[in-house]
Amino acid sequence: MVVKKAPDLTYKDVTPKTLYMGRRNFLFGLAAAYGAVVGYKKLTRLLEGPATGSTPVKLTGVTKWPGSTTEKETSLEDVTHYNNFYEFGTSKTDPAANARNFVTAPWSISIEGEVKNKRKFSMDEIMKLAPLEERIYRHRCVEGWSIVVPWIGYPFSALVKLAEPTSKAKFVALESYYDPKQMPLGGSAGIELPYVEGLRLDEAMNSLTLLTVGMYDETLPNQDGAPVRLVIPWKYGFKSIKSLVRIRFVQEQPPTTWNIANAHEYGFYSNVNPSVDHPRWSQATERRLGEFRRRPTLMFNGYADQVASMYAGMDLKKYY
């Protein structure tokens, strides 16, 4: 017996040609849109043209500082494409994109306030003021990420000694370059500019405090604070002021940018301290760029031996 099976599909079940074409067009459309996005991004890069700003050059005659950490260096790509420099925008990728036309020559640092030698140092003078050293430091951002960077520079104390602060000088007030024409996004950063920072004089004189002119064998890239910045490895990154133009020796604790913006969250000292939380997040751990798991944050970012004595007897919860 032949079992007659009703056909499952009749002619009217055939997908109408328009719909079928629609599907195909839809897929083509997706692919085209996809290609357009990639192409557009590549094209905008081309149209931007070559960068007109200063570019890093090789540094020679650099000696290796024996105190460098042996931890793995963060890649140059990560250090130069993920950082904060609010003058060039508030997203982590903004500085690399927007500082490419930043012109940093000519440059000078002005020494002012309670010093015998009020004067300006040209960038040439700064480069030759003391022998250049490569120092590999851990660098911890207050936001909870960290990097390991081979900086090039010399102790800030060398410059301070030349300035000859008087007995009245108790603090140094530091100021970044700010030019709204070169840094048009600075106006919407939500912080007051020019960026100002400060250190107690003994912190400024500490041998770890580095006047920094380069990294990874070259002069500083624009987005990392060219041409000259400070690096203070036991403090949160925002203390390490970029593109330094003014150093003022003062009697009173100077105002600092993030403290002005939010005194409750960012103190004058801002020493790396895993046991004092930021009001909005824990500082107990950090994410090292290039690593997957968080790692524990170290007291004074691992530099307690060199700096803890400066804070002996201080309540670090109060002076955060």
Binding site: V38, K42, R45, Y82, K92
Partner: protein
């Protein structure tokens, strides 16, 4: 217009479009670390932060889109838009789950006690967590069967929780940023407009009811065409 909105293909297209942000993330994940690739098209130096921000952003965007459906239906007089509301709301929940899951699994690596402390102690996490938890009952009761079981009135009451989720989501974002509050403020303005429209309609509807001697709430679309 109506035929486009009611076509079953439109729903498929919208569904696929809603998956584009996830597709982008997967694509970036695949291309992450490929040499010579434009660096603005991978995860960058901090992939976990990138994923956290992207999924968080899309949760807020889908909440906003979902909240925009009702005002758009009325303003554009396209009642058929309602067909997409559940799907969009569920996508908000979907990206919320990815956002929450990223925090749990990738950021905190299942450190439950540390996370629970964060939920209690960090107000931006407290509000974000609350916004997410409030979305769970809405997702669970999104099926036709659940609407029937709850009854339309109770279901509508419950689903007003999305207003709270959206507001808390914006606060979560606002409290998270350090100083540049432009983006969270933009979300605040949009959510504010969408909620203000509802308030306006409610006040308008109440006036109408009073004028009609109370009783049945007039269908706004009829009121407009009358």
């Amino acid at each position: 217009m109506n035929s486009i909105l009611t076509s079953k293909w439109t729903k498929v297209v919208v569904f696929l479009a809603c998956l584009i942000p996830l597709g982008q993330l997967l694509w970036r994940a695949f291309h992450n670390g490929l040499a010579g690739f434009p660096d603005n098209m991978d995860f960058g130096a901090n992939p976990i932060e990138f994923i956290t921000h992207a999924t968080g952003d899309w949760t807020l965007r889908f909440l906003v889109i979902t909240l925009a459906i009702t005002p758009l239906r009325k303003i554009l007089r396209q009642p058929q838009l309602i067909r997409f509301r559940r799907m969009l709301g569920l996508f908000a929940f979907f990206y919320g789950c990815l956002h929450f899951g990223t925090w749990i699994g990738l950021d905190k690596f299942f450190a439950w006690s540390e996370m629970w402390k964060d939920v209690q102690k960090r107000r931006f996490i407290t509000v974000g967590f609350t916004a997410f938890v409030l979305m769970i009952p809405l997702a669970v009761t999104s099926t036709a069967g659940m609407i029937r079981r709850l009854g339309g009135k109770r279901w509508h009451m419950l689903h007003r929780a999305i207003y709270v989720s959206a507001i808390l989501g914006v606060i979560h974002y606002y409290w998270l940023v350090k100083s540049d509050v432009r983006k969270p403020l933009l979300y605040a303005v949009i959510v504010g407009i969408l909620l203000a429209h509802r308030l306006g309609m409610w006040i308008y509807g109440r006036g109408h009811r009073a004028a009609a001697g109370g009783g049945v709430r007039p269908e706004p679309s009829t009121a407009e065409t009358a």
